[in-house]
Symmetry: C2
Subunit: 244 residues, 2 copies
């Protein structure tokens, strides 16, 4: 089993993902938010890569049962119902709804990886579920760190490192490229306090300044969800076992 | 003083470099080769980003005193005088010559960063010279890891980490982004044996298989050159102090 890590979605083009098994990570905050929304009863998430397309999808599809969510510069977009904080997505607001999600990094990375054969949404929150799912599949995979405006970010790479660390515990022949080995080193360096790591990151500091300190705490929690969100033909839904 | 690191040239576009002070690193092997060539008497290096442009420049300019050098898949290109091994660039072959250099990663990264205000060529071989030069300039800077076909590679990032480690020894207010902090962690992890690190990298293993084991040894040597190669208007020459 071979796992490669892209430290930025810009490392590859869309065609790269054709036929691959892919996990997209955006700890702060898109993929943490997707896990939270589905855990709290959202019907599905529709990730989009432009605000304009979010507006268009919202106006024409899904029978009015949609909520526009997302951020620009970490803040809710004018005219959107919700921002990109996982704590906003409460059951009473989102139950049964289709959520159209636009974010600066994560939703774009997911859309970029759309040609993947299998496309999963990963975070610290559902880390063990994703790891188990990858091990059961037994396929080579690529983990995409959404990063920050095309650049490397620490928190996504540390999460990738933790996934690889878990997988190698029961997969002695796990093959890694340089980027995966780097993620393992970065994870080892901070594994005793993931929240402290997140607070020191570029993105974590921006979010804390803008009043989202609670999000950092939530996004650093490992294994609080059993969900494996799967992207297929434009929407993300929880994986259901019978689909195998 | 703030230093940012691009872990791949794909992390930014050409315009990003406008006005910046930039160091490009391609340990295996373009920037190690450039240092070696200039140390051994080459007049200048002309980095190019396509083989076609290399041919064109070779045919029309520099009064016949040119040598075509470079590689595709690590091997010398048909019709080129030289490959991309730093050990090939011996004084008796290259003295006084203009060397047109095409490589898969490094020469392209240099050309991409051409709008930089200051553009330097860095490697383990001339690491202390580059560090001293950056400290003397005292400007914010960006270090570009050339990587491997757009992906992260370990050896360039470890070299960036060593540069940052040297700079922070005398620059207590050095500001780093997530990528710079990651490079420091990666350097700390392997600093006791850089050659062993290089031998384990994806690129190092490919080069060793193709018969370039001696190149790995050469490229891992720290501070064997005092040169600061500077790119300006298409050509790379050694920095001369009087230019300040």
């Amino acid at each position: 089993m071979k796992i490669h890590v892209l430290l930025s979605p810009l490392n590859a083009d869309e065609i790269y993902f054709t036929g691959k098994t892919t996990v997209v990570i955006d700890i702060l905050r898109a993929t943490s938010t997707i896990v939270s929304a589905l855990d709290n009863g959202a019907k599905e998430i529709i990730p989009v890569n432009t605000v304009e397309f979010a507006m268009k999808v919202s106006g024409t599809s899904f029978g009015g049962q949609t909520l526009l969510a997302g951020e620009r510069n970490a803040l809710k977009i004018d005219g959107f119902a919700m921002g990109n904080s996982p704590l906003e997505f409460k059951p009473e607001i989102i139950n049964g709804k289709s959520i159209i999600l636009y974010t600066t990094n994560g939703s774009k990375a997911i859309v970029k990886a759309k040609f993947s054969e299998n496309l999963f949404i990963g975070s610290f929150n559902n880390l063990f579920a994703i790891v188990e799912h990858l091990k059961n599949l037994g396929e080579d995979a690529v983990i995409v760190c959404s990063g920050m405006s095309g650049m490397f970010c620490m928190e996504d790479s540390v999460c990738a490192g933790m996934m690889l660390d878990e997988i190698r515990k029961t997969t002695p022949d796990l093959e890694l490229t340089d980027s995966g080995k780097a993620c393992l080193v970065l994870y080892e360096n901070v594994k005793d306090d993931l929240l402290a790591m997140i607070k020191k990151t570029e993105h974590g500091r921006i979010l804390e300044e803008k009043g989202f300190a609670e999000d950092l705490e939530h996004c650093s929690k490992v294994g609080i969800s059993d969900l494996v969100p799967v992207y297929s033909t434009g929407v993300i839904k929880p994986f259901v076992k019978e689909e195998i």
